[in-house]
């Protein structure tokens, strides 16, 4: 398993566990939108929890709202931000 695949798996588990999603990590697509009706349907409170969890678990700082919005689009965009940080 590549590092990237492993990282995406960690992000999906983080999503399910921290946001108490009623789905399994495997059901989340790498490019599936996290927010909005056509995606996972996360909201701003979920985003808040996600920002704290990503900082705690991966050291990813998303204090700027604009950067956070771009980063938290999909599992792929989160993985890219962690790998680039």
């Amino acid at each position: 398993m590549s590092t990237s695949t492993e990282l995406k798996g960690q992000i999906k588990r983080l999503l399910v566990e921290n946001l108490m999603l009623q789905i399994s990590p495997e059901e989340i697509g790498d490019d599936q939108p996290l927010f909005g009706p056509n995606g996972l349907g996360l909201d701003s409170v979920d985003a808040l929890q996600l920002v704290v969890a990503l900082d705690k678990n991966h050291g990813l700082k998303l204090s700027d709202a604009g950067v956070a919005r771009k980063t938290l689009q999909t599992v792929n965009t989160i993985a890219a931000a962690i790998e680039g940080s």
Binding site: V45, L48, Q49, V52, A53, D55, K56
Partner: protein
């Protein structure tokens, strides 16, 4: 031993000291951080009486940087913040027509901005813990809006609204946010009343007596306890029956 880490602001005041003391008496597992600004003699005495269970931390609540430093010190020492009691406050009463803008700003800064900064600073830790209790000390003035207190009443009404709004934001994360509204409580803030003003104040209270700081502290302790886990966004009057 699982310590419960509690931060009380304004901990040198009559009410702050009573709140801190009540947590210390509640359980040996409670560790209380006493947020203090310029005056600290009462807090130092309380800490000396409770060695190993209580520490002072400098905290000028109007300064976000002071909050960052204080919470960082607590997290470095103990890794978590379980309870925040936003108790620090001040009032400078005057008729609006004669109120200096600086007086308005000072009262808003301590009573409302301070609560905002406090809630915001502990939020990452409480979200990470998926657990936390915030109790904001508002005032009966928030609900009655007495003349001469446009600044204080507006600030405390803001605290009530902040409490209810934040409670909805973080309810699903396991964080509760509640407010208490003390009426006339026999602390230093009543000491400035002359005999006639005290008589007039007592006449408004159905119980015909001022509250004791311990009676407010008991409500704060309850809102922080495990059994209060389903109470959030509540505003509890503690006022001897005024309404």
């Amino acid at each position: 031993m699982n310590l419960r880490i509690i931060l009380v602001t304004g901990a040198n005041g009559g009410l702050g000291t009573a709140i801190a003391r009540m947590f210390l008496e509640e359980s040996p597992d409670n560790f209380v951080w006493l947020g203090v600004n310029n005056r600290r003699e009462r807090a130092e005495k309380l800490a000396a009486e409770n060695p190993g269970r209580c520490r002072l931390v400098p905290l000028e609540v109007t300064r976000p940087g002071a909050w960052q430093s204080a919470v960082a010190e607590i997290l470095a020492a103990q890794g978590r913040v379980d309870v925040l009691v936003n108790n620090a406050g001040r009032h400078e009463d005057a008729l609006l027509a004669q109120m200096a803008p600086e007086t308005w700003s000072r009262v808003l800064a301590v009573n409302l901005d301070g609560v905002f900064h406090g809630c915001q600073t502990v939020m990452p830790a409480m979200i990470s813990q998926r657990n936390g209790r915030i109790i904001n000390v508002a005032s009966l003035s928030a609900l009655l809006a007495p003349p001469g207190q446009t600044n204080y009443a507006a600030a405390k009404a803001g605290v009530v609204a902040l409490t209810q709004s934040l409670a909805k934001e973080v309810a699903r994360i396991g964080i509760t946010v509640n407010a208490v509204c003390p009426g006339y409580v026999d602390t230093g803030s009543l000491a400035g009343l002359d005999d006639e003003a005290r008589r007039q104040a007592l006449a408004k209270i159905p119980m015909r007596r001022f509250g004791r700081p311990e009676e407010v502290a008991a409500a704060v302790r309850f809102l922080a306890c495990a059994e209060a886990s389903y109470i959030t966004g509540s505003v509890l009057k503690i006022d001897g029956g005024i309404f």
